[in-house]
């Protein structure tokens, strides 16, 4: 009995470490987004809470904790209450096989990348539940839009990941990183195209501009999380930024050689690459306008899917020919 329990202690500690990292990284990303948008718009961003607004996210979280919890009348209580959990839990579980460093990984599944991609697509159910449960027309439209968007961008995402799997030959995340010791994957031309497609469908996956149609500020007021206040809204916020981190971390692992780097602390390289990709996505967020619903769908099915299919064929042909 003791043996059975003690074998779970390391996993428990790793889980707590991951939870701590998620909370910190979500708060840091919220602060980073406000600072980058301030830099782009020639202003200063949060300044009054600590040096350069360091504790701004702490203040936001504590304030959201204190807010009153309002249940809209006529809301479908269980669905409405469960929705934030359906969005947050997949974002946390996906950290199971995220290769932070050569030895920093919770558990290196041999189907690592497949696990991450399937877990992160559960959050669309949560978004749809939030849309339906809030008994609010704007949320309903937001929910339906997000379902269509994530489904149509799941296909190019997986096809571009498929190219990397074909190149590295393994599904496990550590294996993919080790396969890039010779040369990072995105240096190869066909994998570079997969990298671009991956980034485009990743912005769509995490509902960020130019694909932030579900919670379009100017049309649907606040999209699917219009009716959520206080801690439930904070969970949506944390889930959104954690998804952003997952997507950039997977991109860094698959295309930019994960924790590979010239000197020892491998975790440093992983975080550096992940955060540069996040900064790039934030830079795009504050520059481009939003794409319309049917243009977004058309772009996915008429352009991204054919190009990624051709890319998979070319990679297969190259592998067969080059041996």
């Amino acid at each position: 009995m003791i043996g059975f329990v003690t074998s779970y202690i390391p996993l428990l500690l790793k889980g707590l470490a991951v939870l701590g990292f998620i909370a910190l990284s979500a708060m840091f990303l919220i602060w980073l987004e406000r600072k980058i948008s301030a830099k782009i718009q020639n202003r200063l961003g949060p300044m009054m809470t600590g040096p350069h607004g360091a504790f701004q996210s702490v203040a936001d979280t504590v304030k959201l904790l204190l807010k009153e919890n309002i249940m809209p009348t006529g809301a479908d209580t269980t669905i409405w209450w469960l929705a934030p959990f359906f969005v947050t839990v997949p974002a946390v579980v996906a950290f199971l096989c995220m290769p932070f460093g050569s030895h920093f990984i919770v558990h290196d599944l041999n189907v690592g990348i497949l696990f991450i991609c399937s877990i992160t697509s559960i959050s669309v159910i949560g978004v749809f539940m939030a849309g339906w449960g809030s008994n609010n027309k704007y949320s309903l439209l937001g929910g339906m839009r997000s379902a269509a968007q994530i489904v149509s961008y799941e296909v190019p995402l997986l096809l571009s990941v498929l190219v990397v799997i074909m190149e590295s030959g393994t599904l496990s995340m550590q294996g993919i990183v080790r396969a890039q010791e010779l040369g990072w994957f995105f240096l190869k031309p066909n994998v570079f195209i997969a990298f671009v497609i991956y980034l485009i469908s990743a912005t769509a996956e995490t509902n960020r501009v130019p694909f932030d149609i579900p919670e379009a500020e100017s049309e649907l007021v606040a999209g699917y999380h219009t009716e959520y206040s206080g801690m439930k809204f904070a969970m949506f916020f944390v889930a959104e930024y954690t998804n952003l981190f997952i997507v950039s971390a997977v991109a860094a692992t698959l295309f930019l050689g994960g924790w590979l780097g010239p000197f020892r602390p491998s975790m440093f390289w992983f975080l550096l690459k992940a955060y540069t990709i996040i900064a790039f996505l934030m830079w795009i967020r504050w520059t481009l306008p939003r794409v319309r619903m049917d243009q977004m769908m058309g772009f996915a099915w008429k352009f991204l899917v054919p190009v990624s299919l051709v890319n998979v064929l070319v990679t297969g042909w190259l592998l067969v020919v080059k041996g």
Binding site: K39, I40, W283, W286, T287, F303
Partner: protein, 152 residues
């Protein structure tokens, strides 16, 4: 088909140009004026709160007639010694005033002017309504945040 690909490429280039603009802006100096730390200097003609030099005023009621929102309530009496009219009641309603500057222009003896005070925020309604302009410390209650001590 070729035209389609060409369109996509042109589109991609235009997005990159847009990103270039924001990239240039990242390295520009922020234009923000940090308000409570360094406060702006009001321009010469700035129309702040209405203010009065009591002894220059001859209570001709021109200003209260011209005021579009009837924010000035003035009544004057003939002062026997100095044989001049002097205001005995001069009430200014900040909440009705529209800061148009007509009273300042019309005042023949320029006793009434608009001062440079622009920080008018308070907790009670009563701080704003009838302000007696004859009193000397009429605007003391409108406090303003401390500015940054200039490191000379």
């Amino acid at each position: 088909m070729l035209k389609e690909i060409y369109q996509i490429l042109i589109g991609f280039l235009s997005i990159l140009k847009g990103l270039g603009v924001t990239w240039k802006n990242i390295f520009r100096k922020p234009v923000t004026m940090e308000y409570p730390l360094d406060k702006p200097v009001m321009t010469a003609k700035h129309r702040g709160l209405v203010d009065l030099i009591p002894d220059k005023c001859i209570a001709c009621l021109q200003c209260s007639k011209i005021c579009p929102t009837a924010a000035l309530v003035v009544s004057g009496i003939m002062n026997p010694e100095t044989k001049k009219r002097a205001p005995d009641k001069f009430v200014y309603n900040t909440e009705l005033c529209c800061f148009c500057g007509l009273c300042e222009e019309i005042c023949p003896t320029s006793a009434l002017f608009m001062n440079k005070c622009y920080e008018i925020a308070c907790y009670q309604h009563a701080d704003l309504t009838p302000i007696d302009l004859l009193r000397s410390n009429k605007y003391q209650h409108l406090t303003s945040p401390r500015t940054r001590e200039r490191k000379k």
